[in-house]
Each structure stands twice: as C-alpha cells, then as structure tokens.
C-alpha cells in the first residue's frame, strides 16, 4: 500500500529523525545514528532522502512541490530505481523547508518551476538511491561476514548468492544507517532500468478523491480566525482611508487591519470577513497609474516596435540591411494580452505568530523562499519560521518566485495574536496576479527563389519578467534574452540573415512566470509566421518547416517530433469532412514538440478543436503515465488561453474578476489529445510547461486552413471566424 503522508504529520517524523549535520552535499548523506538507534522499532534514515522502517516501508522525501504535475511519484521512482526496494512499499513525504536550511540544504533546491524537478534532480536522486543501496548491502554483508560484492539488492531484499541467504531491507536498515556512505556509486545504465520508464500510478490520489484536508486552505487550527483581504485595485496604489461605520456590529467581525496598500477584515468565519470587507467604505490612492488602460499599454508597445534601440537576442548575417534592400517583404504584426494564472485554489496562507516564532501553512512552489518572505514580514530571523508545505491546488508559476500571498497573512496573524487563515477571494486573486506579460511582435522577412526566408527580422516589444522580478544585476549586459526564447539558439530554422530583438516597455502591471513563460508568446509569433511564409511561398507548411530545419544541433530531434506529429495526425491525407489541420514546432525546457491541431469552423463562425496531436521528445521518460497527463493538461491550459484568455486594464486596474469573464476550458471544449512519446534518451527534458506554448499557433494555423483568416491576436473569443 502506497500513501502520501499528510504534510501536517511530516514534521513529527522530521523532529524525531533529523539531526543537524554540517557540510552535507546536495546529496544528503547519512545522519550519525546516535541515540536514534536505540529507539526500538524506529524507522532509520539512510541518506537524507530515504527512511526505511523495520516493516520494509520506504519513505522517500521530496524537496519539490506537488501541484498536480506528478513529482510525488516521479521523484521517488528515480530514487527507488537505484535503491532496489519494492515499489509497492514506497511512500512520499515533503521535506520541511526549515529542515533543509538547518541541514545545510541537504535536499538542495526546493524551487519548483521551469519543468525542472526531474531534469535537475535526477542525478543526485539516483545517487541517493544507489548510495543507500550500497549502505544496506554493506550492513547485510557485515552481518553475514561476507564481502559486499557477493551481495545484491532487489525488490527490497538483499541476497548473498553463494550462501543463498537473504535479508529484508527493514531488517538491516538500522545497521545500514550507521554505515559510512560510499564516496562513489555506479549508476545503472538506462538499459538496466526496471522502474524508470514504466507507467506508475500516482502516490497521492487516494487523499484527493476523498476530500482529505491536504491543501493549505483546509488547515483548521484551534482558535483560528479568518481574514479577507483587499489590495489597492490599481497596482502600486495606496490605501487612503477606511470608514468602518457600515460594519459596526456585524456579526462575527473582529478587527479591521490597515496596510499601506491593502485592508483586511478578520472575522470568525471567512464569509463574514468577506461580507464585511465588501461593506467597508474604502478610499484608495491610485497614484500615477489610475489612467492606464490596455489601449495605453498597447500604444506603449506599438511605439516599441519602431524603437531604434533594442536588445538583440540573436543575430547572424545582416537581416536589417538585407530586408531594407529587398524589393518584396512579408510583414505581419502580432499582439498577445496579459493572462492570469487562475489556480483553482485561490491564494491563501494560514499563519500563527507567537512571540518571535512564525508558523505558516501555505501552497508554495518554493518552500525556502516562503521562509524568507514570512521572516521579513514578521521581522524575525529565518530560523524562527516554520513552513508547512501543503498540496497545491494548482501552481503554473503563480506560487514560485513571488510569494505575495504570505506577507499580509503573516502580519495579520501577528497583529491578531491567534492563528489566522487569510484567503483571497477569486476576484482578489484574478486582480492581483503576476500576469503573463502582454507582448507584440513585428515580423519582416524576404523569401528567396525557393520560397524560403533568406532574411528575417523579429522585433518584440513588451514587458520584461526578468526585470520585474529580479531588479538589478540579474541580466548580464542588460538584454532580456529570456523574453526572446524560442527565437534564440533554440530556434531550429536556418535563415542566413536573422535577427531577433526585444524592446522592453514595462507598464505598472506586475508580470511573472506563467506555464510556458515567453514561449507562450514567441511560439505563437514564430509558428504562425512560419505558416504565413509557407503560404506566401505556396508550400505545404509541413514540408516548408522540414526544409527550413537545417544545421541546428538538435535538428534531428525537431524533425523526429515534427514527422511523428504529421504521421499520427494524418497530415497530407484528407481530413474528416469540414476538418482542417494546423501545425507547430517548438522546444521548451529541453523538450522537443511537434503538434497538429484539427479544427472545424462552422458557417456561424463557431470553432471546434476536435483533436490535438502532440509528439514530444523529452529525452528519458520517468513515468509515461504522468507525462501523457501533463501533455493533456498543457494542451488544456494552452487552449484555454487561446480561446478565452485575456486580462484587460481599465483605469489602472484589472477589469476581469472571475470565471464568467475570464473563461476556462470545460469538458465540452476539450479536444481529443493524442500524445506521441518519441523519447530519444540520452538527456532529460521537462514536460510540465512545454505543451501550453504550442497549442495556440497550431490551432490558429488550422483556422487559417479552414477559413483563410490569419489570427494575429488572441484570444479567439474576440474574433469573428466566419469564412471570408
């Protein structure tokens, strides 16, 4: 029986088993057993990642956050592959962030984003498993008084082949914990893997189908109160005045708390707090951004398209001169809006501050950052903060670098002196995000006699995430290449004269990482314009792309996924009546994707996406089941944005407020997603973020095939798709 422990319980295991050690490497080495060994029946920690109980149950610790992407299963698989335990005995538990700090970051980086969990921790996780296996074998060999090399571990049993003796992991775990970890361990070659690459069910499902309190919003503490929060609707604005007259005597209402930029109401229940907050007469000082609108921001970006100054992300040949001299140029301008993350669990944080001790329960993609943010908010040193990492009701980048849902909650709890759960209403959540930036692109290209581009200038203008989130010093040379990803060395197309540049034009709207990040804009710009060039050249978009993929170091991988998607989708063969296909190609987070969308557009302009074929090469596949599900998830995420996603600014504030005006994909809109895994092995790529980038261009190219309409802005809900 596998299980995920409730995060609330995990701290107790930690306090029992954790001992401070100095100088540990990223691979947390064994803890000196000391007093712990005398505790009868205690589970033994064998390396910081693995605890084995006498009954053979193996607990594998996870440093990253679970937000649905499946790392609760995939990361233990990496450890268990080398450990050689029985998978059925494995369960997972989250590492407490303060333990990571206390133990010199024995578990490494806890930040969860960029599709990094598997690809950046696979090496030390497999080594942790292999190290523990060698320690277990050494303990068994010592007990038998035989050489360790005569012993082997499999399915949780150590066997000494010459004497046919066996010992279970649970029988030697306590002794193994005292063994000095080997300095070097040999990792299995991929062809020796028996667990990695096999479909495994998630370890965290049982709690999620039975309503267990596993999310931060479910935390209930003795004496806990609830808070509703309103931040200044105009970003960077201030709170001017609060008139409490209208809430006087409202039942259950305890306290109004004022901040520079926000006001909160604390009450016995969240509904009471929320009702009182709505009833409060609040005056805001909008500052100097009260007149900003989507139109003024668009004008800012459009001016950026004409700017003489731009940060060049990649340049080869002399595209600008060539294009100036070219008698015929193909040009197109594209425009994408701000997007909200809209995690289904709204932002929330439960905090309890007693003296200088701070404890928070929080849905965070970055547990250590949560410590720092809470410590700063409470004015205490980081070592005074405990963070209970809970299951996340969605993440998508909202809960990573920025942890803006923590400071108010901590300050409220500090002022109240009791545990307080602060929940942002859906409206508050929608209107106070770190949005996927708005971006414009101007494409200019000339085609040679073969119809292929010989010069191409990509001009981007928009907000810089990097400069918003990391002020000062982060960018060497000051050029935000991150905003140009997809067009730099990750673009597979050979164009003799090519230039991409970015004109940074920041508005007051906060921007941040959103599943797929800049690829969600640039893949749309690039792949739609590729389609435009193919059309101008009178060539099939698939053949056109294939001809254009040239000398890129990863050309084979790009071609393989493109071919796989074309083949599976039936590209080149007649589509079902009324159906039309569109294609896209992109590399994101070291994963290569080719995709084909199949759509129909009714005479009334109604769009239906029937089918979405996505071929992906992410190198090694750990759990094909979760990879497939992440592809379907990313397609739904990308399609939601393509169809409905648009945050607009009016009077300096976000206009949209809830799911009635910030639409979400539902069951009836979900296309049949067909994932083609074409793992070439030899490298480790991500899967959580990549697919969301590739949906819009494939769908819009299919719309062109269906209607002759070029879609150069999103969302599609703003377009009349009736055939022209």
């Amino acid at each position: 029986m596998t299980e995920i422990r409730l995060p609330q319980l995990e701290r107790r295991t930690f306090l029992k088993s954790a001992v401070a050690v100095g100088g540990a490497l990223a691979l947390g080495f064994g803890i000196p057993f000391g007093q712990k060994a005398r505790a009868e029946g205690a589970a033994a920690e064998i390396t910081a990642w693995i605890v084995i109980a006498p009954d053979d149950r193996v607990t594998i610790r996870i440093a990253r956050s679970e937000m649905g992407q499946g790392i609760t299963t995939a990361l233990p698989m990496l450890v268990a592959e080398e450990l050689g335990c029985a998978w059925e005995n494995v369960r997972a538990e989250f590492v407490a962030p303060e333990e990571n700090l206390r133990r010199n970051r024995a578990w490494g980086d806890m930040s969860t984003g960029g599709s990094r969990s598997v690809r950046t921790s696979q090496d030390f996780l497999r080594k942790a498993g292999a190290t523990a296996r060698e320690m277990l074998i050494a303990a068994a060999a010592a007990r038998w008084n035989v050489p360790a090399h005569e012993c082997a571990a499999q399915d949780g049993v150590i066997t000494h082949a010459p004497s046919r003796r066996t010992l279970r992991f649970g029988e030697v775990a306590a002794a193994a914990a005292a063994v000095a970890p080997p300095k070097d361990v040999r990792l299995k070659a991929p062809n020796e893997w028996t667990l990695i690459g096999t479909p495994r069910k998630r370890l965290d499902v049982a709690d999620k189908v039975s309503g267990k309190p596993i999310y931060a919003i479910d935390v209930r503490l003795p004496g806990m109160l609830y808070a509703a929060l309103a931040q200044c609707p105009v970003f960077r604005g201030k709170l001017a005045d609060v008139d409490e007259t209208r809430i006087a005597g409202m039942r259950g209402v305890r306290q109004v708390i004022r901040f520079d930029d926000a006001v909160a109401v604390v009450a016995d229940g969240w509904w009471q707090a929320s009702q009182a907050l709505d009833a409060l007469a609040v005056t805001w000082d909008a500052g100097r951004n009260g007149a900003v609108s989507s139109d003024t921001i668009a004008a800012l970006l459009r001016a950026g398209l004409d700017s003489a100054e731009a940060g060049v992300g990649r340049e080869q040949g002399d595209a600008v001169t060539r294009l100036a001299q070219s008698p015929t140029r193909l040009t197109a301008e594209y425009h994408l809006p701000y997007l909200a993350h809209a995690t289904l669990e709204p932002q929330n944080c439960t905090a309890h501050v007693v003296g200088d001790q701070v404890e928070i329960w929080v849905p965070t993609q970055h547990g250590e950052s949560a410590i720092a943010v809470a410590a700063a908010a409470a004015g205490v040193p980081p070592r005074s903060v405990k963070v209970h990492k809970m299951m996340l009701g969605g993440g998508f980048g909202r809960r990573g670098i920025v942890q803006d849902f923590i400071p108010h909650a901590v300050k409220i709890a500090k002022q109240v002196g009791r545990p307080v759960q602060t929940i942002w209403s859906r409206e508050e959540d929608m209107r106070h995000d770190y949005y996927r930036p708005t971006m414009m692109a101007r494409m200019t290209a000339s085609l040679d006699a073969d119809g292929l581009p010989d010069a191409w200038h990509v001009r981007l203008a928009g907000n810089s995430i990097i400069h918003t989130l990391f002020s000062g010093g982060f960018l060497g040379g000051g050029i935000d290449k991150h905003a140009q990803e997809g067009f730099t060395d990750d673009m597979p197309y050979d164009v003799a004269h090519f230039r991409v540049d970015f004109v940074e034009r920041n508005a007051h709207v906060p921007v941040g990482f959103w599943r797929g990040v800049s690829h969600t804009q640039n893949c749309f710009f690039k792949e739609c314009f590729i389609d435009e060039m193919a059309h101008a050249a009178g060539q099939d978009p698939y053949r056109f792309r294939r001809r254009l993929i040239g000398k890129h170091p990863q050309a084979e991988k790009f071609r393989a996924v493109l071919d796989a998607a074309a083949k599976a989708s039936g590209w080149g063969e007649p589509a079902p009546p009324g159906h039309h296909r569109g294609m896209a190609l992109e590399e994101v987070d070291n994963a290569f994707m080719g995709a084909v969308a199949e759509v129909s557009v009714g005479a009334d302009g109604a769009l239906k996406v029937h089918r979405f074929v996505c071929a992906i090469d992410c190198g090694h596949v750990v759990n094909p089941m979760t990879v497939e599900m992440q592809i379907a998830s990313g397609v739904a995420f990308g399609l939601t944005a393509a169809l409905f996603g648009e945050i607009t600014i009016r009077d300096g504030r976000v206009h949209e407020s809830n799911f009635h005006d910030y639409g979400m994909l539902r069951m009836a809109d979900m296309p049949k997603v067909e994932t083609i895994l074409v793992p070439s092995g030899g490298f480790w790529g991500g899967v959580g973020e990549p697919p969301s980038a590739i949906v819009a261009p494939a769908v819009c190219n299919a719309i062109f095939a269906a209607t002759g309409q070029r879609i150069r802005s999103l969302p599609l809900k703003n377009h009349d798709l009736r055939k022209i």
Partner: protein
Amino acid sequence: MVKLTINGQSHDVDVEPDTPLLWVIRDTVGLTGTKYGCGIAQCGACTVHIDGKAVRSCSLAVSDAAGKQITTIEGLAQNGKLHKVQQAWIDNDVPQCGYCQSGMIMAVAALLKDKPKPTDADINQAISNICRCGTYQQVKAGIQAAVAST
C-alpha cells in the same frame, strides 16, 4: 439557528440564514473536502448533493438547505467502501492537483444516479465543472470505468 443534516448527521448551526452553504460546511461544520473556487457557481468545486441532486453550495443560502439531506465528498463512501466514482478515479489516476476533484466527483456521482449510462453529450452537458489542470480526458475515462463497474 439552522438545522442541517450533513452525511447523515444533524448539525444545529448558529449562522445568518443567507450564509452560503459552502462556508457553513467548511468553516462552521469543519468539513473541508468541499472547495471554494469562485463563489459564483461557475467552477463547481463546491458541488455537494442535496437530496441526491448536485448543487453548487457557494450559491445556495444555508436556510434553503435546512431539513434536506446534504452529502459532501466526506460522506460519499458508504460503510467504509468508496463510491464507484471515487474508485474509478483511483483506478484511472484522474486527479492532478486534485483541488476541483471533490466537486467533479460529486457532480459525476449525481449524473450517474440520474443517468447510469450517460452519452458523451450527456456528460458534456452535465459536467461543466472547471478543472484548471485540464483532466477532462481522464475524467471521461473515469466516468466510463464507473459506468462499466455497475
């Protein structure tokens, strides 16, 4: 004082009669499996059964639920045995982040009670819950498995 019957147990709750049932279930009674997602009956994360019908509890006054049989996700299993929809969700690995799934499961359980063999169109029409992770394909597989299990 409002008298509620939740998962077969009666609760006398001292709340304003216009309080949405959701918040009474979560904060007053303390059953947190039912989720807050939008507060305007858009997402369905708060779906419970009232006299066997799926209802979005964020938009129902608690007084309108008085005297009726309310079932939440915590009360769906009977005699320690998971409901067939819950079991199908486990067998098909439906949840990702899982936050919407209490409501999704309650909506599906009510649908199958009403229509034991729903068509694809029935499902699309009846299950309008929002899953931000986009598990819709697995939800459909789960529904088919639950239908087949009866």
